[in-house]
Assembly symmetry: C2
Homo-oligomer: 107 residues x 2
DNA sequence: AGGTTATATTACCATACGGTTATATAATGT
DNA sequence: ACATTATATAACCGTATGGTAATATAACCT
C-alpha cells in the first residue's frame, strides 16, 4: 500500500476486488457501513479496514446519521488512473479517424 | 495475483509500479529484455519475472531477434480498466453538457 | 445509568508478493 | 566443441496484505 516514499499508490488501492466492489456500491448512493457489510463477503471489521484505506486515499467521505456512518463516493482521484490510461486508448479505440490517429502519432 | 478462482486480475497486474514502467517503456517501441533492464531499477531476473506476468496477462507478446527476445506491447486488455472507469468519468469530467449529465443519471 | 446498536481499532495469522542470487537453457561466434 | 551473450527459471527470503476474532469507542434509547 505504501511505497518507499510513504505515499499511497492509487493503482494498488483499486486493485483490490472488495475495494472496487465498495466503490461500485457507493456509486449508486451513499451507504452506511452496515449496508456495505450486507452487500459484501466480508466481516464488519473487514469492511471498515477497506473503508479506512479508501478514506485515506480520498476516495470516500463520511457523514453521520446518528450512530450510522454514511460513506459517500468521491471519485475525483480516479482521474489519475484515467490519465495513465489516456495514451493507450488509441490501441483499442476504433472511433478514431485517420487524422486523429496521425496527430496522436506525431507526439 | 490470483484470486480464488485462479484467474488473474488485471487491476493487480497494473498496480505494480515496475510493471507500469515496463508497459510505458514498451509504448514507445518494442524492446529487448536487456533494454528494459537498463531502464529499470531491477535485476534481469526481476524484469523477466514481471515480463512473464505481463505475458500471461496478454499485455505483451514476444518476437525474437537471434538471442534477443523482443517484447511488444499489446494494450488491448487495458480496455477492461477503461470500461470499469467509464461510469466514474462524469464525476470529474467538465466536458459533459447538461443533457448528457441528465441522460447519465437516468440509468 | 445500563443496555443496545453501529463502527473503528487492535492483535494476530496465513499467505502472496516482489526482490535477489544461483542456475538452467538457448542461440551466437570462433 | 567451447566460450560468450541473452533470457528464463528455481530456490529462497523478508515484508506487506487481507482476513478474522476480540475489544474499544461512541451514539442512541428507556
Amino acid at each position: 500500500m505504501l511505497n518507499q516514499k510513504g505515499t499511497t499508490n492509487l493503482f494498488e488501492i483499486i486493485a483490490e476486488t472488495n475495494r472496487r466492489n465498495i466503490i461500485d456500491l457507493l456509486r449508486t448512493r451513499p451507504r452506511s457501513v452496515g449496508e456495505l457489510v450486507e452487500r459484501s463477503q466480508l466481516s464488519q471489521p473487514g469492511v471498515s479496514k477497506h473503508l479506512r484505506i479508501l478514506r485515506e486515499a480520498g476516495l470516500v467521505t463520511i457523514s453521520k446519521d446518528s450512530q450510522k456512518h454514511i460513506y459517500h463516493l468521491r471519485a475525483e482521484p480516479l482521474v489519475e488512473i484515467d490519465n495513465w490510461l489516456e495514451p493507450y486508448r488509441r490501441f483499442w479505440s476504433n472511433k478514431l479517424d485517420a487524422l486523429e490517429q496521425f496527430l496522436d502519432e506525431e507526439e
